[in-house]
């Protein structure tokens, strides 16, 4: 079997029984939401971005709350 004849790789919804309309609706949502996230990330993500994690931001907030509550 040539490369052109090979079946496409399984799609993300292939193991879940869905009708064509459901599949189309789900992939449409994923495409539009994913595009927004992709564009937002492309404009903002840098290798040296910090903080990487919401845990860090929370830790800062916890320290501030401890000072306020003291």
């Amino acid at each position: 079997m040539s490369k052109d004849q090979a079946p496409p790789p399984p799609g993300p919804l292939d193991r879940i029984p869905v009708d064509p309309a459901e599949r189309r609706a789900a992939t449409d949502i994923a495409r539009s939401v994913g595009a927004l996230v992709s564009a937002g990330a492309a404009a903002r993500m840098t290798v040296d971005e910090t903080p990487w994690s919401l845990h860090t931001l929370r830790a800062e907030g916890a320290a501030r709350a401890a000072e306020d509550g003291a």
Partner: protein, 474 residues
């Protein structure tokens, strides 16, 4: 106490039991009677656990009779959204799939309520797998609003909202992944607190999207919420996200005026979506906060479409991961709305998910800098439109239904992505006669500040004390 009288709020009930004005057993019996009589009207109850509740209540009465110290919730009758695990008791999570599930662990939040002396009356209605902002449940029926039965109760903590509003219980716990505490609180005219992500341990609560899930109280007043939060908040080694969480008395922060407190009011996105009747109520609430001493400043917000997309993607992917097995094997056992909300989660590339999580702290900083600036909190509508009818959110064209549901989550869902605390406070009645509410959003772990402001507002207003029609007596 008449078995049919409205059940007092959290703090009032605790004081009545502590003083001996009523026994915990009598209060629990009265609440059980109201839940049995009025609960079905609102479709608020999944199952009562009378034997367990009365056993807890009698233990409180015995402790009091012996002169033993009582916990801060001794004898307070509560019931909770049916996603909090209690070992040996069924927990269906609003689903058909888990209707026979019996956990062998107890949620940290329930353990802490037990230690504080609270009485757990049973399990309350929720949207299927906590996945509807309106209270819709294809298997168990709709949650119904005590103010008007053909209108949404709000979800997904629908039974918690309705049961507290109708005074069937003193308070309740809910969960909030995109607004599920704040929606029913706002729609039913009560107070609800979505805590900072990582303040209240998630251990033993059915997850929907662990990066976004939070657990918190729904109660009559801000003071009631502060009492409940003080009990359930704090570090838990079984939930590492809570290890930085402070433990404190939130009630101690209440009292006094709001001099020195600055409240920011974004003029775009939230207010531009508000209907004229809601805007009038929001402005009146700002006037009351200003009269209490707060300084009000105008701000704006960053790109909310991006934040909403980030939230939708994170929730979709995490829900898809949790539900994959059942979605493959039992897809027919999901309601159509719930299937439709989970399915896109399977189709996002892994890189998109990583981007959404990696940018979360930066985007939270940006939102705080833009929407709040140097202020202490942000004032937003909880729901920018009047409470919708059940028909508006379930019948007719699919795009109309989606739009109606989107209006419900317009003001709430991004706050979960940002991980910030938010207090929803009732502020009057919209043009259709149903409750309206504002929310106060703060920096991480600023719950005490939000509660102080909400309490100051409630000392000048009585919207939170209003009773829905036909529930004063059963």
């Amino acid at each position: 106490m008449s078995p049919f009288a409205p059940i007092p709020g959290v703090v009032a009930a605790a004081e009545m039991v502590a003083s001996g004005a009523v026994s915990a057993e009598a209060l629990a019996s009265a609440a059980l009677a109201r839940l049995s009589d009025l609960g079905p009207r609102y479709n608020a109850v999944v199952a009562l656990d009378a034997a367990h509740a009365l056993e807890q209540a009698r233990a409180v009465d015995l402790a009091r009779a012996r002169g033993a110290p009582l916990g801060p919730l001794a004898g307070v009758p509560l019931a909770h959204k049916d996603l909090f695990y209690r070992a040996g008791r069924p927990c269906a999570g609003g689903s058909k799939i888990r209707k026979d599930f019996v956990p062998d662990i107890t949620a940290t939040a329930l353990e802490r309520l037990d230690e504080a002396g609270a009485v757990d009356l049973g399990r309350l209605h929720l949207a299927e797998f906590a996945l509807s902002p309106t209270g819709f449940n294809a298997h168990d029926g709709h949650g119904r609003n005590p103010w008007r039965l053909d209108h949404c109760s709000g979800g997904s903590s629908s039974g918690s909202g309705a049961a507290v509003a109708a005074r069937l219980v003193s308070g309740a716990l809910g969960s909030d992944t995109g607004g599920s505490i704040r929606h029913p609180a706002a729609m039913c005219g009560i107070t609800g607190l979505k805590p900072t992500h990582g303040l209240v341990p998630l251990f033993g609560a059915m997850p929907l999207s662990p990066s976004l899930d939070t657990l918190g109280p729904l109660a009559v007043s801000v003071r009631d919420c502060a009492r409940l939060l003080g009990v359930i908040a704090g570090p838990d080694p079984r939930d590492a996200s809570t290890l930085a969480a402070p433990r404190r008395s939130y009630e101690a922060a209440l009292g006094g005026d709001l001099r020195g407190v600055t409240i920011a009011v974004p003029q775009d996105y939230y207010r531009t979506a508000a209907t004229p009747d809601i805007l009038v109520l929001l402005d009146a609430s700002l006037a009351a906060l200003r009269a209490a001493g707060a300084r009000i400043v105008e701000t704006c917000v960053p790109d909310m479409a991006l934040l909403n997309a980030m939230m939708q993607l994170v929730m979709g992917v995490e829900a898809a991961a949790l539900h994959r097995g059942w979605m493959e094997e039992r897809p027919q056992d999901y309601g159509a709305q719930v299937r439709a909300r989970i399915l896109p989660g399977f189709a996002y590339p892994a890189v998109r998910y990583a981007e959404a999580l990696m940018l979360r702290a930066k985007l939270a900083q940006d939102w705080l800098a833009t929407a709040m600036g140097d202020a202490d909190m942000v004032h937003l509508p909880t729901l920018a439109v009047p409470v919708p009818s059940i028909a508006e959110t379930t019948e007719g064209d699919a795009s109309d239904i989606a739009a109606a549901i989107g209006r419900v989550t317009h003001c709430t869902r991004a706050i979960n992505y940002l991980g910030l605390p938010s207090l929803s406070v009732p502020c009057g009645f919209a043009g259709n006669g149903l409750p309206a509410a504002f929310q106060l959003v703060g920096r991480p772990f600023a719950e005490a500040m939000l509660l102080k402001a909400g309490d100051a507002y409630q000392r000048e207003t009585d919207f939170h004390l209003r009773l829905p029609p036909d529930c004063a007596e059963a």
